[in-house]
């Protein structure tokens, strides 16, 4: 059986770094990106094929696409994301602040997947994935706040639904993953251990197919309600 290949975009720390470790341990060939060489070097040392990528930079995405020309990818996870300043009240949120979050969390994953579609078409599993959040769920929101982050993840959910419909004829499964509340710098290291979250998400990645396209699936296998 041909070895499965995945690209993790945003792998220098936290959930992305753990994805690299666990996918390698599961026998996948792992391509991984970091924003700079200091992030890329440890990925190479761990056994991944590492690249530099600033997901919010079109030239950087284009350069990665050129480096990967002709390389089959079974799966892509656009993991890079930011929280923005979660403490800001609505009147203090500037256009630039909200745009920064939307650009990184919503727009950039779409553009990255668009650039890597040829690689997915060469692969077998054809999985196009990015990272959502419970904060994307409007129906679950009973307390407000975290405006830019919520907006970015809800927009991502909607965009990925559209992507799922557009790429269904190509046989590409478009799914968003929800990691849960994980101890990373984005949560001030509160929450569950990253290993637990990624074990769950890896199980999801191993089992999903075209029938799951358009879903937002948690590390626990449960769908995030809209």
């Amino acid at each position: 059986m041909a070895q499965k290949t995945i690209l993790i975009a945003g792998a220098s720390r936290g959930i992305g770094r753990e994805f690299v470790r666990q996918f390698l341990a599961s026998g996948w060939t792992v391509h991984a990106t970091a924003r700079d060489e200091s992030g890329a070097r440890p990925l190479r040392e761990a056994g991944a094929i590492a690249y530099r990528l600033d997901i919010a930079d079109d030239a950087s995405i284009a350069a990665l696409s050129r480096e990967l020309e002709g390389v089959p990818l079974d799966a892509v996870i656009a993991n890079a994301g930011i929280s923005g300043d979660l403490t800001l009240k609505p009147e203090a949120i500037s256009r630039d602040e909200m745009l920064k979050v939307i650009d990184t969390n919503t727009i950039s994953p779409l553009l990255l997947l668009a650039a890597l579609k040829p690689n997915l078409m060469l692969g077998t599993r054809k999985l196009a994935m990015a990272m959502s959040s419970l904060m994307s769920s409007i129906s679950s929101n009973d307390w407000g706040t975290q405006h830019s982050y919520r907006a970015s993840k809800t927009a991502l959910n909607a965009a990925w639904r559209s992507l799922a419909e557009e790429w269904r004829p190509d046989g590409i499964t478009c799914v968003l993953l929800r990691p849960g509340f994980v101890k990373t710098d984005m949560t001030n290291f509160q929450g569950m251990d990253v290993e637990v979250s990624v074990v769950g998400m890896l199980k999801v990645v191993e089992t999903i197919g075209l029938a799951d396209s358009g879903r937002v699936i948690g590390y626990d296998g449960l769908d995030v309600p809209w």
């Binding site: 949120i93 745009l99 939307i102 553009l111 907006a151 927009a155 909607a158 559209s162 992507l163």
Partner: protein, 188 residues
């Protein structure tokens, strides 16, 4: 009654402004073309209490494939459909609070997650959906100011009088839910 209708470049906004004017309200019309200075708009409205602020945008984004889209186009769609209504509402919160007023965002059913139509799938749907998320936040966070928030998904042929009647009927919901022009519940 003091009414502000933002987005009167579109038919729905214009018709609503006319409707409220016929009902005897003092109506201010606000254009929200790309590049509008929202701070200036808010400053021109001063500190007058606002009983009803309606934000409407009739834009119908084209059906594009993802490969045909640029970052700049996606960013522009965000600014128009997500940030502009969010920001204008935030600037006018004090005016709404002074009147215990109602804040209304008119949206489209096509922005709901379950909708299968391909229209505006990247340049409209995600950014209207983001605005839905923000309006839910407003409905919760602004309840202490007695500001009512309403989110209505309408189609462009809907009569202004019907929209106005639904607005009036939907002011008590915290947190808000997505409704159609007749007040019927819609899934997010």
């Amino acid at each position: 009654m003091r009414v502000v209708v933002a987005g009167t470049e579109g038919a729905t906004g214009r018709q609503l402004a006319d409707h409220y004017r016929r009902e005897g309200a003092s109506v201010t019309e606000v254009g929200l073309r790309s590049g509008s200075n929202l701070g200036l708009i808010a400053a021109e409205l001063g500190s007058q209490p606002i009983d009803l602020l309606v934000l409407s945008d009739n834009i119908e984004a084209p059906d594009c494939r993802l490969a045909d889209l640029s970052r700049a186009e996606l960013q522009a769609a965000f600014e128009r459909l997500t940030f502009a209504p969010f920001r204008l509402a935030a600037l006018l919160r004090p005016n709404l609070a002074a009147a215990e007023g109602t804040l209304v965002l008119l949206t489209r059913e096509s922005a709901a997650m379950g909708f299968r139509d391909t229209r505006g799938r990247y340049l409209e749907r995600p950014f209207r959906a983001a605005a839905h998320a923000l309006w839910r936040c407003y409905s919760i966070e602004w309840a202490p100011y007695a500001i009512s928030c309403v989110l209505l998904a309408i189609d462009d042929e809907r009569e202004a009088a019907e929209i106005a009647a639904t607005i009036k009927a939907r002011t008590a919901e915290v947190p808000l839910t997505l409704r159609d022009a007749r007040g019927g519940w819609l899934s997010w």
